[in-house]
């Protein structure tokens, strides 16, 4: 299929696997956050170590000792319902991981990973300029990702996503028996639970920042690129 665009500035930005994975992540992230807060509410205390201190104190965060910690609007479902929260959480955990593998496969096969996401020496040299450009709320629509884009997408894909999965699996008693090194590596099951919460917060932070950037950079162009693949670059790019 070949479509002729009168505008020469439209380029094919995202492959179909990247777009599918992106929306898979977007939907699953929202459901995982809502159901995750639901699960957290069942015992709204975070600890360091293997176990939870009841006879001693190893708590690092305690929210809402009476009633519920996170309010109804933030949880899925809205009422206190751990069983349903777990069903939703584990369903979308599979969606997130499937989307991650789909994306990785597509990015490796197409060369996207090496070509567009790998930060080059030039990227690192122009990092300062890129930060100043962003600080001035100027968002150039380039043919390739800028240094900040490469670093932030790289951090989500290769640090936050693997960490959220690893800390999640480190809470599974079945997984712990087969791979005791995983909770050990993460500082114990309760530390893994605390890290899971922190990484989720970091992902929420990325999500908010990402939406702000999309809105500031021109939401129609950005959304079209992530839906159809076609992205309009600046004149002279």
């Amino acid at each position: 299929m070949h479509r002729v665009y009168s505008n020469k500035r439209l380029i094919k930005r995202h492959t179909v696997t990247a777009r599918l994975a992106h929306w898979g992540w977007a939907i699953s992230l929202l459901f995982l956050l809502g159901s995750g807060l639901q699960i957290f509410n069942a015992h709204p205390v975070l600890y360091i170590g293997d176990q939870s201190g009841f006879g001693f104190d190893n708590a690092v965060l305690t929210l809402g000792t009476e009633g519920r910690a996170f309010p109804a609007w933030a949880t899925i479902p809205s009422g206190m319902d751990l069983a349903t929260g777990r069903i939703v959480h584990f369903f979308f955990a599979w969606v997130l991981v499937s989307a991650l593998f789909l994306w990785l496969l597509g990015a490796l096969v197409s060369g996207h990973l090496w070509r567009n996401l790998r930060p080059t020496a030039r990227d690192l040299r122009s990092l300062g300029t890129d930060i100043r450009t962003h600080a001035r709320f100027h968002f150039p629509h380039r043919r390739t990702y800028g240094p900040l884009q490469k670093l932030s997408y790289g951090a989500v894909l290769f640090a936050l996503f693997p960490l959220i999965v690893a800390t999640g699996l480190a809470m599974s008693p079945g997984m712990n028996a087969a791979a005791p090194w995983l909770p050990d590596l993460l500082g114990g099951r309760q530390t893994a639970r605390t890290l899971h919460f922190c990484v989720a917060a970091a992902l929420l932070g990325f999500f908010v920042l990402h939406i702000v950037m999309v809105v500031l950079a021109g939401p129609l162009n950005e959304l079209r690129a992530m839906v159809t693949g076609w992205y309009r670059i600046d004149e002279g790019e």
């Binding site: 459901f31 809502g34 699960i39 957290f40 069942a42 015992h43 205390v45 600890y47 293997d50 176990q51 939870s52 201190g53 009841f54 006879g55 001693f56 109804a72 609007w73 933030a74 949880t75 899925i76 479902p77 809205s78 009422g79 319902d81 751990l82 069983a83 349903t84 777990r86 069903i87 939703v88 584990f90 369903f91 955990a93 599979w94 809470m171 599974s172 008693p173 079945g174 997984m175 712990n176 028996a177 087969a178 791979a179 005791p180 909770p183 099951r189 309760q190 639970r193 809105v215 021109g218 939401p219 129609l220």
Partner: protein, 263 residues
Amino acid sequence: MCATKINRRAVLRLGGAGVVTATLGGCKAFDRLADPADPLRHYMERANRLTMAAQRGLLDREAMAQEFQWFDIRQPQRPNGVTDPQDLDYLAHVATGFSGYRLSVSGLVKRPQTLSLGDLEAMPTRRQITRHDCVEGWSCIAQWTGVPLSAVLDRAGLLPGANFVLIRCFDTIERSLSGAVKYYETIDMVDAMHPQTILAFGMNGSALPVPNGAPLRLRVERQLGYKMAKYIRAIEVVDSFAGVGGGRGGYWEDRGYAWYAGI
């Protein structure tokens, strides 16, 4: 240029309205999932079967749960759920120090058993310091002493079709219109025959206390706490749990929790 600005503003406004709607009413929109009859919920529940298939298929079925050291026991085992059953038959056993207690082992077995605590203590025992993970999210390390369930099942001899072990308990966990609901739970033979799956009568060096399930409780170390039934009255070996309670294999399972609690 002006047209773009208005467009952008309109989009921003629309987006803002969308976000507000989503946050105010968004999660209520998914409350249908809390309904046990909801078809979307049923679809999502299939992920639990996928998790079980993945763990059972990819991980070592014989793998042992982590065991800890005596100095890792830093507190009493936190009791949860029913901690002081008021059932009359149970209270009678408490009053006599469980001297008249008999564990019945029946169902698909060659030699049904009636075992006293003395009989169980005379069998080869196992002692393990493990971490108890509650579905709520907390963990607690304690030492458990008991008879491997496999030894009790071997003594009774399994008949063909012996697929699940059904644990029936003394404690009434819920009073509904249809009567008192006593705790019940099932596990399959992969966990029933696992060396760390024990019928525990001792905890942290002394007899199992009432809040933790005296005189006998189950330990299934590779699953969450709700699988580890307390106040065990009887064991039945069954081919299916379809006819037990709500048919999902346990008290909490019948209230929406997954039968496989390895995650």
